[in-house]
């Protein structure tokens, strides 16, 4: 609990999706190292409002690292300097008195800026819509224990399922590729027996959607894995490629059922 620190922020401000944006500088004196990064921004915003200025818009919600709503480029790193940490869980003790901190929104063609640091991550939902589910209607399943699943498979599926959909992988990638996000969902479901019937179809459709949304291609730089607050492994991308290729070779066009009933 050392004393407070004085920092300077350089923040991307943009009034709306079509407005021109630019950096503005703000002094932030008297910041406690125990504050979270977003609490520091709260303090800055309170001061801006009191000074008759517009506060900085940024997305956030749970503030405990799980909802995936927050996400800032901090000094060029997605979610800032701490590993395995979302922006909301980053604390000011990771910085020093006198630091100069640049804050930008996620930068990607597929994530247009809505205002200041807020971007539109709608493409992530549309990738899930393309096949990131098991087609099972409410009420139809058998008893849960009728389908044994090995602990190791379940654990690996959980490693992939831990993705919070924040988009840091896209922001960190030099090509703005969304492969890690997509691969995590394809792997989560593809590793489990429940996901097998739709496994290759799912990979084909989700990969097609990610191209349609204007994300870049993956060249296995690995920046995504470094930035991922949940440590999702780049190995899942290899798995996605495998499923995609197998799907492209084996998936048959869907038949139209005729004359049933």
């Amino acid at each position: 609990m050392s004393g407070t620190m004085n920092i300077t922020l350089k923040v991307w401000r943009q009034a709306g999706p079509t407005a021109p944006g630019g950096f503005e500088e703000y002094k932030a004196p008297g910041i406690s190292p125990d504050m979270s990064f977003l609490e520091m921004l709260d303090v800055v915003n309170e001061r801006l409002i009191e000074g008759g200025k517009d506060p900085i818009a940024f997305d956030h919600d749970c503030r405990e690292g799980i909802c995936g709503m927050c996400g800032l480029m901090i000094n060029g790193s997605a979610h800032g300097p701490s590993k395995l940490t979302t922006t909301c869980q980053l604390h000011m003790r990771s910085f020093k008195d006198g630091d100069y901190i640049t804050i930008e929104p996620w930068r990607a063609k597929a994530f247009p800026v809505l205002r200041d640091l807020v971007v539109d991550r709608g493409p992530l939902d549309r990738i899930i819509q393309a096949g990131g589910f098991v087609s099972v209607a409410t009420g139809s399943p058998q008893d849960a224990n009728a389908l044994p699943i090995g602990k190791l498979e379940a654990d690996e599926a959980m490693d992939a399922a831990a993705c919070i959909g924040c988009g840091a992988c896209v922001a960190a990638c030099p090509n703005a590729s969304v492969s890690l996000f997509t691969a995590a969902k394809i792997s989560h479901l593809g590793l489990l027996p429940q996901g097998q019937p739709e496994r290759y179809r799912r990979a084909l459709h989700m990969v097609a959607q990610m191209d349609l949304e204007g994300f870049g291609g993956c060249t296995l730089f690995g920046e995504c894995m470094e930035a991922c607050p949940k440590g999702i492994s780049i190995d899942f991308i290899k798995r996605m490629h495998g499923d995609y290729i197998w799907g492209a070779v084996t998936e048959k066009p869907e038949k139209v059922a005729l004359g049933s009933g």
Partner: protein, 637 residues
């Protein structure tokens, strides 16, 4: 207003089967002609929207976040209960029912709780089929852990991220239905008004949080799955955006509010670090399976390092006071015990508002690897926030506002006192009485959404005729106008204080006077203070920007304005309930430090009816009858 619980007749165990047969059905071909609005996309909202769409209804779903996957159900850590009895340890539907009624301190409706226990088993089947990666044993079957308030292991979990995985299951089902065209999703939309036509819920008014457009949405039925109101305290474990607006707006349109004073204080949260604190972080209750809670026996030891305090100088107060449940005592009891220890001057950490949760014994017994397997992510989260390593030094924890048992009053069909307005999940008052047991919120949200509402909504739609209504209807136009006027008013004050400063001040009043312990004098004072704070808010708040743009200050201002009114209703309810039960602890009503319930006078649900601004709300009572779990003093000793 008349409260008709519509509980079916007959033995409790047969009610739901009987009711399901007696309810009317909508012909499959006719379902798509009905439009249902679901507000909220958490476990309850997403599961309801997806399930209704699968049945064939035409559904619109609204969320204030940028994606339905971000609803605060995602933050639930520990697990979900189900009466599967996979452990062969004596669990059954009846035992889960019994534990929930008793845990709720006999302030819940038996029929609803029994149904909850019944469908709990289907939830696990459903989630597994969706691909939820629950924890497993080496044999491939599902693992379980135990949780507070129960003596059996019936909690299913996915590491410390159970809520996340269950929500992703429901979210994926929802996205599947969005892709199919059954659900139209409205992200970044906030409901600001409920619209009634001829006394029946027929739609909502929303604000598009990106463009600021205020829009009317017409439907045949409206479902609120908008969560709880814990943020009335400013500091809580809720997400920053959680709010009471949807349910409070419905209350002002005639939906009775049930038991608003029943709030849950969770015993294991990270203590407040300073004035800048914007929210509190929960540490899963599952930690109490292996962690031991203690404080020093002597005040003068509080400043010492925990390692310097000898075993015999430590007071493991939960184990001492409640030997049969020990560290797994229910939340209300554990929270109060922590407060008591700190009030006694034996709290630890800065400010003296903390107790230790110590894993040293468990690490010695099981090894650090096993503990990391069970709680690794929680330990990491704790370390990130506090800069202390719980493998080396005990965690410091303190109770924090976590969940609200109160909510809009609903009947057995989950319909409020407004015909057509259904309320599910934490937003309703129904299943947890005065105290919710751990791992039961996820169970209730999914029970309502997957297995109850999809049936009861059909009955409502099939039993009523719906005249064609459009957004041109005078009621919709009036509601649109009301929302726009309110927005203009908030933006027009242009005072000196920020929205947050008012919210903090309101939260402080509520925490001190309507928090973990309450008394008549304090509540009366709060009922004086809240209206004057509210008055100042409307004279002196500063909301920058305009209504026609993405404006986070305006969003907050609308929510805080509703909290300012709702807080008063909570205090009125807390003052009127002259007994201690569950999370509602009135200092005047206790016996040897334990809560003293008054079944003769207060064995009812308090459902409050709005009577106009500046008017006292009208109290309606739904008497509670306990035919299966007999009224008894709740003991965990």
């Amino acid at each position: 207003m008349k409260l008709d619980s519509k509980v079916p007749s007959g033995p409790v165990k047969d009610m739901w089967d009987k009711h399901r047969f007696e309810m009317k059905l909508v012909n499959p071909a006719n379902k798509r002609k009905y439009h249902v609005i679901v507000v909220g996309s958490g476990l309850a909202g997403a599961s309801a929207a997806a399930s209704m769409s699968e049945l064939g209804y035409n559904v619109s779903c609204f969320a204030y976040q940028d994606s339905p996957r971000r609803a605060h159900s995602i933050a639930a850590q520990g697990g979900i209960n189900a009466a599967k009895n996979y452990r062969n340890d004596g669990d059954s539907i009846h035992r889960l029912f019994y534990d929930t009624v008793k845990g709720g301190d006999f302030r819940a409706r038996e029929a609803n709780v029994y149904r909850l226990a019944q469908v709990s088993v289907n939830i696990i089947d459903q989630c597994v089929a969706q691909g939820v990666p629950f924890a497993r044993e080496y044999g491939g079957l599902l693992a379980n852990r135990s949780f507070g308030g129960a003596q059996v292991s019936r909690t299913f979990y996915a590491r410390g991220q159970t809520g996340q995985q269950l929500l992703l299951g429901a979210y994926q089902a929802l996205e599947k239905e969005i892709a199919r065209g059954g659900v139209k999703m409205y992200n970044r939309h906030e409901m600001l008004e409920l619209v009634l036509v001829d006394g029946v819920a027929r739609g909502i008014i929303t604000r598009d949080m990106v463009t600021g457009a205020v829009e009317a949405h017409v439907a045949d039925a409206v479902v609120l799955g908008t969560g709880g109101y814990g943020n009335v305290f400013y500091l809580s474990t809720n997400a920053k955006g959680c709010n009471v607006t949807a349910t409070y707006r419905a209350y002002k349109k005639g939906a009775a509010f049930g038991n608003p004073c029943f709030t849950q204080i969770h015993p294991t949260c990270i203590p407040v670090a300073g004035d800048h604190q914007s929210k509190l972080t929960l540490m899963s209750e599952s930690l109490r399976n292996d962690g031991r809670v203690w404080v020093p026996k002597r005040k003068e030891d509080c400043g010492k390092k925990p390692s310097e305090i000898a075993e015999e100088d430590r007071d493991y107060y939960l184990e001492r006071k409640y030997p049969s449940f020990g560290n797994l005592s229910p939340r209300d009891i554990s929270s109060r015990a922590a407060k008591e220890a700190c009030d006694d001057g034996r709290g630890v950490g800065p400010g003296g508002r903390g107790v230790y949760l110590d894993f040293a014994d468990a690490i010695k017994r099981l090894g650090a690897k096993e503990i990391s397997e069970r709680y690794g992510n929680l330990f990491e989260m704790y370390q990130r926030i506090t800069d202390e390593d719980p493998y080396q030094v005990p965690m410091r924890i303190y109770p924090a506002v976590h969940y609200t048992m109160g909510g809009l009053w609903v009947d057995y069909n989950l319909m409020s006192t407004i015909p057509g307005l259904h309320v599910i999940g934490e937003a309703n008052f129904s299943d947890h009485g005065a105290n919710r047991l751990g791992a039961s919120a996820l169970m209730q949200g999914l029970a309502d959404g997957y297995f109850v509402l999809p049936y009861t909504i059909g009955h409502y739609l099939a039993s009523n005729k719906f005249e064609k209504v459009t957004a041109d209807h005078p009621e919709f136009q009036a509601a649109l106008e009301a929302v726009k006027t309110r927005t203009t008013r908030l933006l027009g004050v242009k005072g000196k204080r920020t929205v947050d400063s008012f919210h903090r001040e309101l939260g402080k009043i509520m925490w001190e006077k309507c928090g973990m312990a309450r008394n008549a004098a304090g509540l009366k004072q709060a009922i004086q203070e809240i209206p004057s704070l509210r008055e100042e808010f409307w004279k002196n708040v500063n909301v920058p920007g305009s209504g026609g743009e993405l404006n986070q200050s305006l969003e907050k201002a609308g929510r805080v304005a509703d909290f300012m009114e709702f807080a008063e209703l909570m205090c009125i309810d807390a003052l009127h309930r002259e007994e201690s039960c569950g999370g509602h602890f009135r200092e005047e009503y206790q016996e040897e430090g334990e809560a003293k319930r008054n079944d003769d006078q207060f064995c009812y649900v308090a459902a409050w009816e709005y009577a106009g601004d500046g008017q006292a709300p009208v109290l309606h009572k739904e008497p509670l009858e306990f035919e299966n779990v007999h009224l008894a003093t709740r003991s965990y000793k």
